[in-house]
């Protein structure tokens, strides 16, 4: 308990100090995870909606698989992307291993199933309400699905936040594909891992609290946006 209290004081101290190295690490963490969320959302929402309203052979298997992929271990994703981007691998010539784009790619793959699966569930539930009316008005399946996604966008925010949470929290993928290079690919989670392994547990704990505070702040902001929008649009 005392350690946590000390860490809380340490966390406030870190934030107040305005240390530029810490600032750079926080900024990179946000850049990487938010970018991954953007891409995973752009890909995942249409994917989830399509599976939700589509009727095709093997659909149930696809749904089960998509749900299961929500639990993809980050370190496995990291390994997979590493093998792809390694010079010895198929995409090595792009030379993006050990750079932030590699981390964005790995995190996008990691959280895409989360956003797609949660979107699928939300759209499937809403489809029950909307389907007849939309079909009566003459909407085709594809267009109807996208109209639905836009209409339930505030509920889908939860799916997006789930993805953001997973991306900000993981260390396995970004460690392997980023290499935790000082000043280049070091993010909050890999820094915490590094300080822990160096035995500097108080610093690691303080950084951990800073990270948690950051994610809480992001979630709170999203919540406020959602509330304001709900009041406007019903």
């Amino acid at each position: 308990m005392n350690a946590i209290w000390e860490a809380a004081r340490g966390a406030l101290g870190l934030i107040a100090s305005g240390d530029p190295t810490l600032g750079a690490i926080v900024l990179l963490s946000l850049e990487v995870s938010l970018s991954a969320v953007v891409f995973a959302t752009l890909l995942g929402l249409p994917l989830g909606a399509a599976i939700a309203v589509g009727r095709f052979p093997g659909r149930r298997a696809v749904v089960v698989l998509l749900n299961a992929l929500m639990g993809l271990p980050p370190v496995v994703v990291g390994l997979f992307v590493y093998l792809l981007l390694s010079r010895a691998g198929p995409l090595g010539s792009f030379g993006i291993l050990f750079t932030p784009p590699a981390m964005v790619i790995a995190q996008t793959i990691l959280i895409l199933p989360i956003i797609a699966a949660l979107c699928r569930q939300a759209v499937e539930d809403a489809w029950i309400e909307y389907e007849e009316q939309l079909r009566s008005l003459g909407a085709r399946a594809g267009g109807a699905a996208l109209t639905l996604v836009w209409d339930i966008r505030f509920s889908l925010l939860t799916a997006v936040l789930a993805g953001l949470g997973r991306a900000s929290a993981e260390v396995g993928a970004v460690m392997i594909v980023g290499g935790n290079i000082d000043g280049v690919t070091r993010v909050m989670t890999t820094t915490i891992a590094l300080e822990t392994s160096k035995g500097d547990l108080p610093l690691a704990l303080s950084l951990g609290l800073v990270l948690i505070a950051l994610v809480v702040a992001l979630n709170a902001a999203a919540h406020l946006v959602k509330d304001a929008a709900l009041r406007r649009y019903g």
Partner: protein, 272 residues
Amino acid sequence: MELMPRALLALAAAVLIAPAHAQQRFITVASTTSTEQSGLFKHLLPIFEKKTGIQVRVVALGTGQALDMGRRGDADVVFVHARPLEEKFLAEGFGVRRFEVMYNDFVLIGPKSDPATVAGARDIVAAFRKIRAAQAPFVSRGDRSGTHFAELELWKAAGIDLAKEKGPWYRDTGQGMGPALNSASGMNAYILADRGTWLSFRNRAELAVLVEGDRLLFNQYGIMLVNPAKHPSVKKELGQTFIDWVISPEGQKAIAEYKIGGEQLFFPNSGK
């Protein structure tokens, strides 16, 4: 509400385009976690960068993994401390030439209570035998690192066949130096560590240096350029510049100047 998506897209695009404007010249060096955690690079690399404008990006792994990174062509230079493994790397044709850079030493860390009564002696092989006899808890890195390799050599020198004689007292953790020290600290166990990581390790609990100074604990570092014949993408000029600097009098001086708490960690010996 419509501004947000656009702003986020711009952000994402910026991150992806970033490498394009990392026009600064850089090399990728595969090294070991113990070297990085000793803090040597934080001291050394800015000096090199200031002089040459070349950014050195260090990926820190275990020695085995670092050499594998070189084999895959994902690094330009490898800088590790396990001579037999380095020679194998060279023999396989993945390295151009090996240069000695510096040495540090390993120390036997253990609980102050010292159940195997090894403290104060210089003979590391005898200490290992005593630990085995007492079945005192011993943490091994088990991760194909230089330190792990050195540890295995010592068991061999003590005539102990680990495969037969290991028991619950021998904890093979598969971790880097720092995490392994954390485990040893938590278990009050013996562990072989490099002095550098030990000096910067903060979570000592009941642990202390019990045996040091034996010649067998001498830990030599070597540096090699990854062979551009095997991997054309290797930045051979920039990589060689770094190697040349590290073994030059200027680089060697910088290495010697690195201290923790007034104690020098690494002893340059490139002989150049």
